[in-house]
Symmetry: C2
Subunit: 155 residues, 2 copies
């Protein structure tokens, strides 16, 4: 490990703010969903993705990719959601290895009930504090970072 370039003052300040957001924002979202809807943020995300898919179903591998999760993690989560009756598994018709996760009617209700509170929290925590220009900047910069993260992941 040879000498890295250290962060300059501006970068340090940026990093501290980013770190604070990364640390606290997920915790707040988690808490709100857990408290108001009895589900984790990740469970919400998974069900939201399913609710937007055709037939309200997706192969686990596709779902995992869209949710930025490992297949293992997703499998555990689907098991839990299945126990609560919000999702069921079904074999994929075209590939006997694959499994479809299907959102049940109760699952749809659950997402619909949870969505307003969740969106409200996101708005409150992020967008209410920002100007239009801020939102644009945020989107641009985060997209650049996310892009880099993706590229690195596939190396």
């Amino acid at each position: 490990m040879h000498e890295p370039r250290w962060l300059d003052a501006r970068e340090q300040q940026a990093w501290r703010s980013v770190a604070a957001v990364i640390l606290k924002l997920p915790a707040e979202l988690e808490q709100q969903l857990q408290r108001d809807s009895g589900m984790s943020h990740f469970e919400y995300w998974v069900m939201a993705l399913l609710s937007e898919a055709t037939e309200r179903s997706l192969r686990l591998s596709h779902l995992a990719a869209q949710a930025n999760a490992s297949l293992s993690r997703l499998s555990h989560v689907v098991t839990r959601l299945e126990r609560r009756g919000w999702v069921t598994r079904r074999p994929a018709p075209d590939d006997a290895r694959a499994t479809l996760a299907v959102l049940t009617a109760a699952g749809v209700d659950q997402v619909v009930a949870a969505a307003p509170g969740h969106v409200g929290t996101v708005r409150e925590l992020i967008f209410d504090a920002l100007t239009e220009q801020d939102v644009e900047d945020l989107a641009r910069v985060c997209a650049a970072i996310a892009d880099r993260l993706d590229r690195r992941a596939t190396l």
Copy 2:
């Protein structure tokens, strides 16, 4: 639960990018530290804070506040770090309820050894992809969000 304002297209796009960053960035940092230095990001953070404190020691409650963690979480972590010989506990001289966490010599070595790799990863994942303008915007926007998160936490 009254009607919330939904997110407009620009906000949705911003939110998706933010969510991707929040999801993947911590995972990458975690992995790098775990792989290269055998410690978690949070453990690194705690030891880094201690290394900058006078006497290399802090009361657990202060350390918890600076690390944005619960006292319980911090106590567990200090226990683990103690087992590895990187930190020791010591009663606070001025308040018999309080405990000081003290970074040992081995702990200092550990932080010093881990720092370059960690900083390098932060630079690589965030700042290398950004222009100076980006960094400035990121700092401004994240500071605004972090501020809001703090204010909400104290309500």
